[in-house]
Amino acid sequence: MKTTICAALAAVCSALLIAPAGAKTLVYCSEGSPENFTPAINTTGTSFDAARPVYDKLTEFERGTTKVEPGLAESWQVADGGKTITFKLRKGVKFHSGVNGFKPTRDFNADDVLFSFERQWKENHPYHKVSGGKYDYFGDMDMPKLLESIEKVDDYTVRMRLKEPNVAMLANLAMDFASIHSAEYAAMLDKAGKKEQFDQVPVGTGPFSFVMYQKDAVIRFRANKDYWGEKALVDDLVFAITPDPTTRYSKLKAGECHFVIAPRPADLPEMQKDKTLKVIQQPGLNIAYWSFNVLKPPLDKKEVRLALNMAIDKKSIIRDVYLGAGTAAKNLIPPTLWGYNDSVKDYPYDPGKAKALLKSAGVATPLDIDLWYMPVQRPYNPNAKRIAEMMQSDLAKIGVNAKLVTYEWGEYRKRAQQGEHMTVQLGWTGDNGDPDNFFFLRGCAAARPGGQNLSKWCDKAYDDKMNRAKTLSDNKERAKLYMEMQVIEHEAAPDLKIAHSVVWEAMRANVTGFKQSPLAAHQFNGVDLK
C-alpha cells in the first residue's frame, strides 16, 4: 500500500514539477533577492520586479510607457471636480489557484480592493502589522493625506473619495504598492495562523502564478492560462538571481539566461557587436541636478545662476563620469515623460559669457561658494564627488572658488532640505510616470525649510500652473501647462540640470516583444522566445 501511495505521489509530483518537453522557459538574470512578494511593504526595484508577474493593479501603465490604462478596473469616472473617482471592476477575473494550498471560491471583486488598501491605511486592520507594517510608498505618495474614503458600492464598483482634487491618483494606483491581493487567501492564512506567509507566497491575478522561491538562487513562475489581459507567451518564467554584473554577462553569452538586468557600461560596446545579443536603451525616469539656494546671496541674482549654468562643461561630465550611461538634461523631467518641452534650449558652455554675467551682476571675484555632493552613488548619479571636482575646476576658470562639502547620507538630505547649503547636488527618481511627480520639486510648498525644493525657489506663475494642472483630467491641457512651466523654470535657472541616467537592457537575440519601461519595470507577459 505504502509503495503504491509513494509511486502515485511521485507520478503526480513529477507531472507537476518537470516541465513538459518543448515547454518554453524564459530565464531572467536578476540582481538580487526580493525582500518579500508584497510590493506595498517594499521599496526596491528588485522586489517590485519579483512581485510584478503575480499581480495586477486597478489601473496599469501600458507596457513600455507611462500611459495609464484600465487594469482590474475596467473603467472609471472622475466627478466632484476631481475629488471622487468611481471604478467599475472587471468581472470574471480569477485568482491563481493551487498556490500554497489556496483554491479560490470566488472571482476577484471589491472586497479584494478594499483589503489591499485598508491593510496599508488602517492601523487596526488585521494585516496592518504583518511583516513589519512599513508601507513606505503608501505614505510617500501622500495617500493618507489624500484619501477621504474607499467604499464598496457593490461587488464590482468601488468609490474613492479624495480630500483634494488630484488626478495623479490614477497613476498612483498603477504603481506596484497598489497591487491587488486576494482577501480570501488572506482570510485562509489568518484562520490557519500563518499570516506571515501572505507576503512570502504570493497569490494574485497576474499573468504568471508563483511556483517557488529559493533565497539568493531562483524564483519560478508559471504562465497563468486564464489571464484576462496580455498573456504570457512562454510557459515558465525563471528569475536566476545573479548579483555580479560580469557573471550575468557571461551567463547571457553562454545562453544560461535570456535577459539580464543592468549590464555594465564597460561591457556595452562588446555586447553591441555580438550578433547573438540585443541591446536596447532609453533615458531613465530620473534627473540629477545641482541646486542653487536662491535665499543665499549672490545666488538670489538670476545672472549669477545663469553664469554658473554656463561655466560648467556638462559634456565632459557625461562623458567621463557617466561613461555612456547618461544623457545631458535640460528639463526637470526626462524626455520619455509626456509633457516634455523639447523646444527649451540648454545653456551653452561659455566661460567667457559666464564671467561677463558675474561682472554685470556686480559680483566681485574671486567669489566663494560651497558645493555639496552626496556621499553615495545614486541611480541618476554614479559619482557625485567626481562631478563636484570637475565643477570645481570649471568654476575656478570664472573666478568662483567652490569649497566641496559632504555629510553622511541621512544628514546630507536633512541639512540640504533645511537649506543650509549655497549649492547642492541631488536628484530624483520618478515613481508614477506623472510629470507632477517631478515638478513639485520646484514648487512653493516644497520650498519651505525641510521641504524638497533645494533651490528654495518659489515662483508664483510656476506654482499656480502646477496646482491647476493637478485638477485637470485632460492630459493635453495638463501637458500645455507643464510645457509653460519648463520655460519659466529654465529662464529663472534655479538649478543646473546635470543628466538623466541611461538605462540599458541586454537580451539574447531570440527574445521578442520586450518593451523597455521608462519606470524601469521588467515585465514579461507578451515576451516570447523565437
Partner: protein, 337 residues
C-alpha cells in the same frame, strides 16, 4: 583526555563572548541606521524615523540593546531580519547547506591535491618538480579570489564551454523542490536523468576557486613537514632495512608528517568562510557568505550579528574538534608535553 577537552571548551567560551561584543559594537559604529538606509531622496519625517527606531528597539542605549540581545541569544533566539522579517535562524538554515556543499568540495580538492603534491615536492626536493609546485603554490596563495573566479568563468565556462557559468543547476531543464538543501543530494533524489551530473558540473568552478588558497597552504605545509620527517632517524632506519621507497614514504614518513597538516586543515575552515563570501557572489551561489554581505549593505543588524555568531561558532567548533583530534593523534599534546 577529559581535562584536555574541558580546557579547550573553557577557552572557547570567552572568545565567543568577546566576538559577540565586538560584532555588536562594530556594526553600530557604521554610519546610517537600517531605517535611514531604506529611505531615498524623499527622506523621512523625524516622527516616522523615531517611530520605526522605537519599533526596532534602536532608541535604547547600546548597552541595553546588547543585554537584550544576549538574553534572546541565550534563549536560542537570533532575532528577525529587518529586511525580510524572517527569523535569522530560518534564513541561515536555508542557505547554510549551499555553503557547506561548496566548502566541503573546495576542501576535498585542497586536501586530495595538496597533500600528494606537497609530499612529492618534498621527496623530489630541489628538482624542477619541487620548484614548479612551490611556485604554483605561492601563486595560488596570492591569487585574488574575485579575479581568479572571473578568469575561470571566462576561459573554462565561456571560452571552452566545459562547465556552466554560475548557479547550482540548469534552471531550464531541471526543476525539483529542495529537500535537503544540498544540491548534489537533491539532484540525486530527484531521479531526473542527468540532474546529478549537472549539479556536479555546476560545483566544479566555484569549488576550484574556493579550494585554491587552502590547496596552496596545505601543499606547502605538507612539503615542509615531510622534509622534517624525512630526516628523522626512523625513516633512515626504515630505508636501511631495505623497505621499498614507496613504503618508506607512504607509511613511515607521510603518516607522521600529516600531524601538523591536520591542524592547518582545521585552520583553513576560517579561510574557506572568508573565501565563500566572494566565491558565492561571483558564482551566484546561494550561501551564507553572500547573505552576510547584503546584510552589511542594508544594515540588517540581526541578520549580520546572527550570521557572524553562527559562523564563528561553527569555525570554533571545527577548530575545537581539530584540537581534540590532534590530541588523539599526538599524545604529547594532551599530556602537555
Amino acid at each position: 583526555m577529559l581535562k584536555f577537552f574541558l580546557q579547550r571548551v573553557a577557552l572557547t567560551v570567552p572568545t565567543f563572548v568577546a566576538l559577540m561584543f565586538v560584532t555588536f559594537v562594530a556594526i553600530r559604529l557604521v554610519p546610517g541606521d537600517p531605517v535611514e538606509v531604506r529611505v531615498g531622496e524623499r527622506g523621512i519625517s523625524p516622527e516616522r524615523l523615531a517611530y520605526f527606531r522605537h519599533e526596532l528597539g534602536l532608541d535604547q542605549p547600546v548597552w541595553k540593546q546588547f543585554l537584550d540581545y544576549v538574553w534572546h541569544l541565550l534563549h536560542g533566539d537570533f532575532g528577525t531580519s529587518l529586511v525580510t522579517n524572517q527569523k535569522v535562524l530560518t534564513e541561515f538554515a536555508a542557505l547554510f547547506p549551499a555553503t557547506i556543499e561548496l566548502g566541503v568540495a573546495g576542501m576535498l580538492i585542497a586536501v586530495l591535491l595538496g597533500i600528494p603534491a606537497g609530499a612529492m615536492a618534498a621527496v623530489k626536493r630541489g628538482t624542477w618538480y619541487d620548484q614548479l609546485i612551490m611556485g604554483l603554490s605561492v601563486t595560488g596563495y596570492s591569487m585574488p579570489i574575485f579575479w581568479w573566479g572571473l578568469i575561470l568563468i571566462m576561459v573554462v565556462a565561456e571560452g571552452w564551454g566545459l562547465t556552466p557559468v554560475s548557479g547550482r543547476i540548469d534552471l531550464i531543464n531541471y526543476y525539483f523542490e529542495p529537500t535537503t538543501g544540498f544540491m548534489l543530494v537533491d539532484a540525486w533524489l530527484s531521479k531526473q536523468p542527468g540532474a546529478f551530473l549537472d549539479a556536479v558540473r555546476h560545483l566544479i568552478l566555484p569549488a576550484i576557486v574556493l579550494g585554491t588558497i587552502p590547496l596552496a597552504v596545505i601543499a606547502r605545509m605538507t612539503r615542509s613537514s615531510m622534509l622534517e620527517v624525512l630526516n628523522e632517524d626512523y625513516v633512515r632506519t626504515a630505508r636501511a632495512k631495505g623497505l621499498p621507497p614507496r613504503r618508506v614514504i607512504g607509511i613511515h614518513a607521510l603518516r607522521n608528517a600529516l600531524i601538523p597538516v591536520v591542524t592547518i586543515i582545521g585552520l583553513q575552515v576560517g579561510t574557506l568562510v572568508a573565501g565563500a563570501v566572494l566565491t558565492e557572489t561571483i558564482f551566484s551561489w546561494p550561501g551564507v557568505g553572500k547573505w552576510l554581505i547584503e546584510a552589511v549593505g542594508r544594515r540588517d543588524y540581526p541578520a549580520l550579528q546572527g550570521g557572524v555568531m553562527l559562523i564563528s561558532a561553527i569555525v570554533m567548533l571545527v577548530n575545537l574538534a581539530v584540537d581534540v583530534l590532534y590530541g588523539v593523534i599526538n599524545p604529547r599534546i594532551r599530556h602537555g608535553g
